[in-house]
């Protein structure tokens, strides 16, 4: 271990301590975001490690947005951007290597508890195109604006709005198909 080496500040003045603080604050949102995109908790953890490393290299380089030019919101956005690219790249490869369309990839449901509703939702989310799922998660769960989401996934705010609209319609349909009706459940 060479922890001591890492405590030296980067060009931007980000110490290992400060950077770890940032990652600690962002790791839950990043993890749930990645779980939603790739549908696999273990892979989400792997991808998050990669994203952390990408970010740390940028910190050490002092490159944007870690050059002191961004507020924490900008850093957070960049972390989501890196995580998104990692997820898309992994999905693309998973398809190439396993010869399977994404919707046939087995989804592991270890992330949440036994609630059928959560399972149904994750299954429905997994049936969406990854970029559409990303728009849903970034805007609805993470609270990003359409413009911020566009920056993260590399699309215009107009394109993000179109994706969000389509994704919500599809999610609602898929969710209705998977999920027992609450009214019926409550009568049981």
């Amino acid at each position: 271990m060479r922890m001591t080496n890492l405590t030296t500040s980067s060009a931007a003045g980000f110490s290992l301590e400060a950077f770890t603080d940032l990652l600690e604050r962002c790791q839950w949102p990043l993890f749930t975001f990645l779980c939603g995109i790739v549908g696999d908790d273990e892979q989400a953890r792997d991808l998050m490690q990669d994203a952390f490393c990408d970010a740390w290299r940028t910190v050490q380089r002092g490159g944007a947005p870690f050059d002191g030019s961004s507020e924490e919101a900008g850093l957070r956005r960049w972390l989501f951007h890196v995580a998104y690219n990692r997820a898309i790249s992994a999905l693309r490869r998973r398809r190439l290597i396993q010869w399977l369309p994404l919707e046939h990839v087995t989804i592991a449901f270890s992330f949440e508890d036994q609630l059928a509703e959560h399972h149904a939702l994750r299954a429905a989310l997994a049936s969406l195109a990854p970029a559409d799922a990303a728009c849903l998660l970034l805007i609805i769960v993470q609270g990003f604006t359409a413009a911020e989401t566009g920056q993260i996934i590399g699309a215009s705010p107009q394109a993000v709005a179109k994706r969000l609209s389509r994704a919500k319609q599809r999610l609602r349909d898929a969710y209705l198909a998977h999920n027992p009706q609450p009214e019926e459940r409550s009568r049981l």
Partner: protein
Amino acid sequence: MSQNHHQPSPACAAFAPLLPLASHDLLSEAEDTSLRAHLATCAHCRAALADYDHVEAALRSTFAPRQGAVPPFSREEIMQILDHRDDHPVPVVPPVPTLPQRKPRRLVTRLAALAAVLVLAVLTASIFSIYTYKNKTAGPAQQNTVSTTPVPGSQTSLADISMVSATEGWAVGETAVGNATHFDGVLMHYQNGAWSRVNVSIKEGLNSISMISATDGWAVGDAGLLLHYDGQTWKQAASAQTNLHRIQMLSATEGWAVGEYTGFDGSAIWHYNGHTWTPQPLPASLNVGNQGNWLQLFGLSMLSPTEGWAAGSLVPNQPGDTTYPTIPPNAIILHYTGGQWVVDKIIQGATLRSVSMSSADDGWAAGENDLYVPSNAGEPHTIAENSPLLLHYKQGQWVQVASPLNTPDSRYNGTFSQVALRSASDGWLVGGSEPEPGPTLFHYDGTTWRAVKVPTIKDTKVWGIYNLAMTSATEGWGVGLRFTNSDTVTPVILHYLNGTWSVYQS
């Protein structure tokens, strides 16, 4: 969520795309006003709106961290992750000892999977080839048949090769880690008459390599990897923060690299001045970045520090996603002249994977035409149908010429992965097409592209060659990958000598 028992009215269809956006402040004032007016009179749409609210709440609940839940990583784990990779990639290859002359070893076969985008089309074609091939009975008589011994389940491929001389060279690629969720870089070294895998820790796949001498060279890979070789070790020298597909060094102090650019970090084109790699400005007309256009450059052919060409594709902003785009890319050829990169040619619905100039007045570019069709009725995903695309640069213009590579009909895919000119009358072209299980190589004599026989490989569903490195008119090498019958992926190294291609092996 309640079943929506209310009947929609004819007007509802127009509001269906607006309803999901109502809670996000993403409607124009006019849209908002008309939607509110409609909602006041339509029970169906009010119920649908309630459904959306319910789905949103469920989504937040599902993906919200639970109170008191243990986070994915502890603080110590985060620091260990950073520490583990703090110098990563600063992979270090131990000094390569000069080995005594020995018998060539069996090909190292830890595996290969291809640099993703670079080979997307070829692999797509390969997928179909596999399925097509499965239905075939006995294949053609196998000549020059060879066999390698794959490690079951492994996936290692080679993407590029650079020879220092006829007796020394390097090849790069990648190998899957874990459940193919990550790829490590692979380096192979040719010396003393044998290729051997170099034991090295590189945490990203490598896509391209360019050696200047036996003691100076560069390799590029995913996530901006820029590795430098000083004759002793390979070390991470810089990061371009984006996937790099191709590198060409003109000298120890002059080099270029190209890759992907989505508008966030850096550029798709990087230049090395002997000290640092810097992102280069792209033509503004490409509109890369904020509008969603995505530039990916695969081919690079620099003639001098002041002139060169790059080729690839511009992926338009589109509905769907970048994994399964619905609008095909547009092939693009960029020209570096007068100190800046300018757009020279755009071809609708195509991708160029390679460009090679024999001089400022003569060159070739190759890739494929891309047509996207729905994979299945009702699914949002698409499948690419590719046909080979070949361009010739002469008299100052890029002109499309008839492809020497053909497929039986439009149901089959075909693409070129590399064109490499040694002179205006000595060139090689690498392609792949269904239903052939292997690549097709063509030689150019200044007039005609002629197919050259390639060997067959035993226990192979499908295989491909991605790049060639010719050391003379009569000798050269090619690298790629093969899928065994059990879907293990192994590297392929081809050797060309005195008119015959053979598979390198012990």
